[in-house]
Structures are given as structure tokens and as C-alpha cells.
């Protein structure tokens, strides 16, 4: 009798193990707890809160957002900054990555590029305030050489935020792009060359199709970063005007109007827009080859 029970016991364990469940699986529990506590619960709470407006019906917050131009225009303003910045970063990163891929010593360059990421957006914003201001080095130098007669206004407008997002976003975009570019087997390019493909054709027919899936991921990650811009939009932009991005609207709702419900609704809208764009890009990515970018065995 007891032997039969033991058999059953073992076979259940074996069956679980065959599906990848064993003692090691328990190690994911802390991560799951962290996800539940710090992401899933606040998200669901915010979602629920957004349907608990201070006044009015269930959808009052959403109705208010899409009725008030001061609120709904933040979506377009944020996109107007985030999309061009992301595209510029990506398009600039590709040629640089193609050059750096051939370099012997990439380390010092990588270190240099990681620096703006580690310094944080606030420090970069402070630096730009000094550098790009009317009395900053850039304007003074340009005026010294007579290239301009009066200082160029690069701060507290669209371009201030744009530049700051390029500076903080480019290294991230570049490092991701570089990892995708170097992941392509160099023998593929050589093979294309021996088959008569010139540099432009090699890029178009070999590199680009193999890079697109990685570039899509890079776009999504860079876009999400740029879309949630807050510090530089306040410090370097015109937070009441052209750079009143959606996170500023959420911030004002929460901490100036103390309307957490509306703030939650804005956060949900923000999340939905990001999700829609990321989802769209990933769906397009699905149309491309996504396997390993190697040339075969070996």
C-alpha cells in the first residue's frame, strides 16, 4: 500500500518537473511579490481610482480630460516631442553604431556615452541651462565669431526639451542599437559582398531586414522614456505652453489640485497611449524575420 502511495507521490513530482516546475521555481517568488506589490497593485488601484471622480459619473475624469483642451492637448504636445526625438536618436544611432562596430577600443566610448544616463536628467538640464542660456558658452561663442548678432533662444521652449531628450536619450538608444548591430554575423556582409552587393545594397538587403526587429524594440524603449519626460520639460521647457506634456498635467492634478482620481485617469490615458504605440510597433515588427542573425552552423 505505502509503496503505491510513494509511487504516486514521485510521479506527481516527476510530472511537475517535466513541465519545468521544481524547487528552483520557488526562487521567482520574491520577484513575483515585488511585481504584485510595486506594479500590479498600484496599477490596479490607480485604475480603480480613476473611476472614482470627485464629482460626477463613473467616467467623469475621462470625460473631463477629453473635453478640456488644456488637458487633451498635452497628448499631442507630448507626442510632438517624444516621437521626433525618438526617431532622431534612432536614425543617428544607426550610422554611429555601424562605425563603432568596426572599432578596436569601444570601451572608452561606451563609458563616455553611459555617463549622461548615470548623471540623470536633472543634472543634464542644469548643465544645459548654463551652456545654452543667453549668456552661455554657445551663444557667446557664436556671437564672438559674428555668426549670430543676438542670442539664439534654445531654452524654455520646445528646443530646450528636445535637446535635453536627445542628450539623455541618445546614449541609451545607441547602446541598444550597437548591441543589435554587432549581433549580426560579419560573414553575412562578406557573403553579400562576394555575391556582388555594393555597400548600399548590403545595408538594404542584409543589415536592415535583420536589424528592424531590434530597432523596433529600441524605438519602443526609447519612446516610452521620452514620452514620460518630466524634469526637463519643466526645467528647460515652457511648462505652461508648448512643452506642457502629459506628465505635467498628471502632476498638477495630483499635487496642485489634490485630485488623485483625475491624476490616475491621466496616468491611465498616458499608459494607454504608450501601450497603443508600442503595440503597433511590435505588431509591425512581427512582419519581419526575427530569428538569430547568424549565417548558419558554427
Amino acid at each position: 500500500m505505502s509503496i503505491a502511495v510513494d509511487d504516486e507521490h514521485i510521479s506527481t513530482r516527476m510530472r511537475l518537473r517535466a513541465r519545468g516546475w521544481d524547487g528552483v521555481t520557488l526562487l521567482i517568488l520574491p520577484a513575483v511579490a515585488l511585481m504584485l506589490g510595486l506594479f500590479i497593485y498600484p496599477f490596479l488601484y490607480g485604475f480603480w481610482l480613476s473611476f472614482q471622480p470627485k464629482a460626477g459619473s463613473l467616467f467623469a475624469n475621462y470625460a473631463r480630460f477629453f473635453a478640456d483642451p488644456y488637458l487633451y492637448e498635452t497628448v499631442a504636445k507630448t507626442l510632438w516631442i517624444a516621437v521626433p526625438v525618438t526617431l532622431l536618436n534612432l536614425l543617428a544611432a544607426i550610422p554611429v553604431a555601424f562605425r563603432v562596430r568596426l572599432m578596436q577600443r569601444q570601451r572608452w566610448l561606451t563609458t563616455l556615452l553611459v555617463l549622461p544616463i548615470t548623471l540623470g536628467t536633472v543634472l543634464v538640464a542644469e548643465g544645459l541651462l548654463n551652456y545654452l542660456g543667453p549668456q552661455g558658452w554657445l551663444n557667446r561663442t557664436l556671437m564672438l565669431f559674428g555668426i549670430i548678432s543676438s542670442p539664439v533662444k534654445l531654452l524654455h521652449n520646445y528646443w530646450g526639451v528636445f535637446l535635453s531628450l536627445v542628450i539623455t536619450g541618445f546614449p541609451f538608444t545607441f547602446l541598444l542599437t550597437l548591441s543589435y548591430v554587432t549581433g549580426i554575423d560579419p560573414a553575412l556582409e562578406q557573403a553579400a559582398a562576394t555575391l556582388g552587393a555594393k555597400a548600399a545594397s548590403r545595408f538594404r538587403h542584409i543589415f536592415l531586414p535583420l536589424l528592424v526587429p531590434g530597432l523596433a524594440i529600441t524605438f519602443c524603449l526609447s519612446f516610452v522614456q521620452a514620452f514620460s519626460v518630466f524634469p526637463s520639460a519643466v526645467l528647460l521647457g515652457a511648462p505652461a505652453g508648448p512643452t506642457r506634456v502629459i506628465s505635467i498635467a498628471a502632476y498638477q492634478a495630483a499635487f496642485e489640485e489634490y485630485d488623485y482620481s483625475l491624476a490616475s485617469a491621466i496616468a491611465m490615458i498616458m499608459g494607454f497611449i504608450q501601450l497603443a504605440i508600442v503595440g503597433g510597433v511590435l505588431a509591425l515588427r512581427g512582419l519581419f524575420y526575427r530569428g538569430p542573425a547568424g549565417g548558419g552552423k558554427g
Binding site: D185, A187, L188, Q190, A191, A192, A193, T194, L195, G196, A197, K198, S201, H205, I206, P209, L210, F288, Y289, G291, P292, A293, G294, G295, G296, K297, G298
Partner: protein
């Protein structure tokens, strides 16, 4: 632009060399190849054979020398303008293209019209027997099939020169033998030059019309497989041709090509090709394990102690410790015990004697 290269008579390498920094990996490679020849570049890894191939393909710039197709200098052209076909060691198939697109890529790059390209792709697919796999991606194919796609892709453009960089090294033994025959058949059908890089002497012997043995970036010997197999010019080449036993001795007698050595008190007779060794000089005898036969204790031959023995079908092959602590590899008709004393002998015609003292 590449079409006028198609009808050439000879490919000439004139003192081609390549440095990597201060390292001279390829020294003064000079070779003339006639149309229709199958040439194997044979050498151990690091001997510069892949460098030579890449220089000819245009994937690596040469440091010295020139490459000519008849009277046309080609080392100044980029890889894309040479019009050679290349089969890479790891195949380098485009993973995002189907087999058909992979094979058609070269034609597309040459601007061949679709109506002309399609039948040529079909023919190439038929040549490598992959008609049924045309719509698959390379990742869905086995190693041998990928290999054949790589070959089809290189030959569909009917290149004057096909370069192959150890194309069979990733395949299992059985497939390797099959592919050897395929490659030979495809070469015969194309009528162009094939330059085949390998470190496998069997492959070189069975495939090539002529073998070029490279070592330390230099050509050591060029010859037909029969030549190289029977008469390696140097000890290096002999080593590569399977003369695993190298026994140092002192010359005691020489008449014509026949030389007798004294190896630790035992006489060993062999042949020398060319160089006269001179009585009293140091020499090395090279013998294939196949020709080094165990004659049993008390017979005529070098005394040795058996250290290892293994059965390889038909015969036993073993390793023994011989005179002067030398390591000897031999064949035996019977199984010998480890530690057993044995005499190892070889017919004089199978023993090659080279000048020098180092083994």
C-alpha cells in the same frame, strides 16, 4: 562588368602577402592556376590558408603582391567587383531569406532579369538536390542542406573562381564523404577554378587536382595528390601527409636513393628523394602508422614496448615507446597486450629519409 572575367585561362598569384600588424601571416604566395583545376590549400590551422582565401576573395586587402586573371589585375577590385563565388565555413546564409532568395541574391545583385534568373536558380537547386526545400528558411534546414544552399548560392552566378573555406568541417563524417563527391561533381560541371581550403589531408587528396601545402604562411610544396602522398618534399609536408612516425638516426650507408640509418643500435633502411644526406650525418626517417608493422618480439625491427592498442576494424593500431624514448605508431594483425615487447619494421620503400636532426 564581371562577365568579361568569366573566360580566363589562368589565375596568377604573384608574391601575395598579408600582415596583421607586425605579424606576417602570409608570405610571398606565388601560384599559377589553370582554368578547370581544383586546387586544395592544405595546412594546419593558423598557417595562413584562410587569409590567402580572403585576400583572393577581396575580403581582406593584401599587404604585398598582385593577383591576376590573365592580364587583368584584380587585387585592386573590391570583393563585389571580382565576381567570385565563395562558400564560407559557417555557410553565412542570409537567415531572413528563403533558400530560393539566398540562391537568387547574386543574380539579383548583378541585375539579371527575373525571367532569366528563375531557370538558373532552378538549375542550381537541382544541382545541389534541394528542389523541395526552396521555400524554407535556412534555419529550418539541416547542416548538410545549409551547406548545399551555400554552394548553390556561390555557383549560380557561374563564377570563374569558386572559393571554399573548410566547407565540410561542420558536417558529420558520413555527410562529409557524400558532400565531397557532390563538390567534385559540381566542380566538373562548372569548368571553373575551385580553390578549396582545408586542414584535412584526406579531403585534399580525394578532391584536388593539385595540392598546395601551406605552413607558417609559406608554400611548402605544390603537387598532385599522388606526388604529395608518395614523395613529400619536407618533413613538415610528410607530417601532414600522415607520416606520423618520425625517427631520428645517423646515416651509416647510402647507395643511390637508399639510405640506412642507425637508430639506437638498430638499422633502419629507407629512401630519400633528392637531397643526398651523407654518411655520418643526422637524418630523420618518416613512416606512416599503416606501414609500420608489428613483427612480434625477436623479429627484425625497432624494439619497442606497447603502450596503447585499439581495434579499428580489420587491424589493430597501437602506440609504443621505441629507442630513445621515441613515440611510435604502428599496425598489427593481432591484438598485443599493454607492456608487451614488440619489434616494429617497415619496408624500405615505405620509409622516407630527410636530412636534419629534429623530429
Amino acid at each position: 562588368m564581371t562577365n568579361n572575367l568569366n573566360s580566363f585561362k589562368t589565375l596568377r598569384l604573384q608574391g601575395v602577402g598579408r600582415n596583421f600588424g607586425a605579424l606576417n601571416v602570409l608570405k610571398d604566395l606565388t601560384l599559377e592556376v589553370r582554368r578547370g583545376e581544383f586546387i586544395a590549400l592544405l595546412g594546419p590551422s593558423g598557417c595562413g590558408k584562410s587569409t590567402a582565401l580572403n585576400c583572393i576573395a577581396g575580403l581582406l586587402p593584401t599587404t604585398r603582391g598582385s593577383i591576376w586573371l590573365d592580364e587583368r589585375r584584380i587585387d585592386t577590385l573590391g570583393a563585389e567587383d571580382r565576381g567570385f563565388g565563395m562558400v564560407f565555413q559557417n555557410y553565412a546564409l542570409f537567415p531572413h531569406m528563403t533558400v530560393r532568395q539566398n540562391i537568387g541574391f547574386g543574380l539579383k545583385m548583378r541585375g539579371v532579369a527575373k525571367a532569366e534568373a528563375e531557370p538558373r536558380i532552378d538549375k542550381a537547386l537541382a544541382t545541389v538536390r534541394l528542389e523541395s526545400q526552396a521555400a524554407k528558411l535556412p534555419g529550418q534546414l539541416s547542416g548538410g542542406q545549409q551547406q548545399r544552399v551555400a554552394i548553390a548560392r556561390a555557383i549560380v552566378v557561374e563564377p570563374p573562381l569558386v572559393l571554399m573555406d573548410e566547407p565540410l568541417s561542420n558536417l558529420d563524417a558520413k555527410l562529409r564523404l557524400e558532400m565531397r563527391q557532390e563538390i567534385r561533381r559540381i566542380h566538373a560541371g562548372l569548368g571553373s577554378v575551385t580553390l578549396y581550403v582545408t586542414h584535412d589531408q584526406d579531403e585534399a587528396l580525394s578532391l584536388a587536382d593539385r595540392i598546395v601545402v601551406l605552413r607558417d604562411g609559406e608554400i611548402r610544396q605544390v603537387g598532385t595528390p599522388e606526388d604529395l602522398y608518395a614523395r613529400p618534399a619536407t618533413l613538415d609536408v610528410a607530417d601532414f601527409m600522415g607520416f606520423r612516425n618520425r625517427i631520428a638516426g645517423v646515416v651509416t650507408a647510402q647507395s643511390g636513393a637508399t639510405v640506412t640509418l642507425d637508430v639506437g643500435g638498430v638499422a633502419l633502411t629507407g629512401m630519400t628523394h633528392g637531397a643526398v644526406v651523407g654518411v655520418g650525418g643526422n637524418a630523420v626517417a618518416a613512416i606512416r602508422p599503416d606501414d609500420m608493422v608489428a613483427v612480434g618480439d625477436g623479429g627484425d625491427g625497432l624494439p619497442a614496448i606497447v603502450e596503447a592498442i585499439e581495434y579499428r576494424g580489420r587491424d589493430y593500431f597501437g602506440q609504443a615507446r621505441g629507442p630513445g624514448d621515441s613515440e611510435l605508431f604502428f599496425r598489427s594483425g593481432v591484438k598485443l597486450g599493454i607492456g608487451a615487447p614488440v619489434r616494429l619494421g617497415a619496408e624500405p620503400g615505405k620509409v622516407l629519409v630527410f636530412t636534419g636532426s629534429s623530429t
